[in-house]
Amino acid sequence: MYLNQFLLLAAVLFSLGVYGVLARKNAVLVLMSIELMLNAVNINLIAFGAFHDNVLGQVFTLFVITVAAAEVGVGLAIVLLIFRNRADIDLDELDLMKG
């Protein structure tokens, strides 16, 4: 197995995640896209870990998962707050910083 195939796979997933972050209106969907990106990164880490015959990649991946989980939790809390304030989580409407 080539290293590159995993890396490329990760790159594709990451790009798709970027697209999703930028193009989606619903905040929850954006969070999902962020998860996608994070997973791509994890694949990268594991692949390199395997390549270097190391357990380090796995350890880092565990940390990333942890952080991702925390981040989703807080993110959703914020989305909930936004929803409570505006009854709408369309990101296009969140333009108070306009101008």
Partner: protein
């Protein structure tokens, strides 16, 4: 070798398709489903790469908790079930371009850097090794991560409670 490649090929196709569908579907719940598929694929990739502990952690945490969390979020924000209409904003094309450009850049770099490197068959690592590393060398990051989780939890509760 061939079997791993075949498996990898199948997994890659499924994952990319699911990811693609994730970012283009107009149905929020289906997006969650596709996310679950992708996450599963990722776990399979981990196993392929002989990282079994992480694979199961992935399944437990991501599919078990995060997806559910996201679904809860969808529910609580009254996202309409079923086909909505337009879930993509105006800068679709720009984002596509950026994503493609990013992909191209990364691809070029990766191909250039790791063109002929092979993973080979990695040795199966036992969970004990992972835990040794985790609680040994990286105990401080581990503790920090725990504190992070705690604070995230507290923060989420603090943010989301009704007052």
């Amino acid at each position: 070798m061939v079997a791993q490649n075949v498996v990898f090929g199948i997994l890659a196709v499924v994952m990319v398709t699911a990811a693609f569908r994730l970012v283009t579907t107009q149905n929020v719940v289906r997006a969650a489903l596709f996310l679950a598929i992708v996450l599963s694929g990722v776990a399979a990739i981990y196993i392929l790469l002989a990282a079994e502990f992480v694979a199961w952690v992935q399944v437990l945490v991501y599919i078990g908790a995060v997806v559910v969390l996201l679904l809860f979020g969808v529910m609580l924000t009254r996202a309409p079930i079923g086909r909505l209409g337009d879930l993509d904003n105006d800068q679709r094309i720009l984002s596509a371009l950026v994503a493609l450009f990013l992909l191209g850049a990364m691809g070029a770099v990766l191909l250039d850097a790791f063109g002929d490197d092979k993973v080979g068959t990695p040795a199966i690592r036992r969970t004990a090794e992972v835990s040794d590393s985790l609680f040994g060398t990286f105990v401080i990051p581990f503790e920090v991560a725990s504190v992070l989780l705690l604070s995230a939890l507290v923060g989420a509760v603090a943010l989301a409670r009704r007052d």
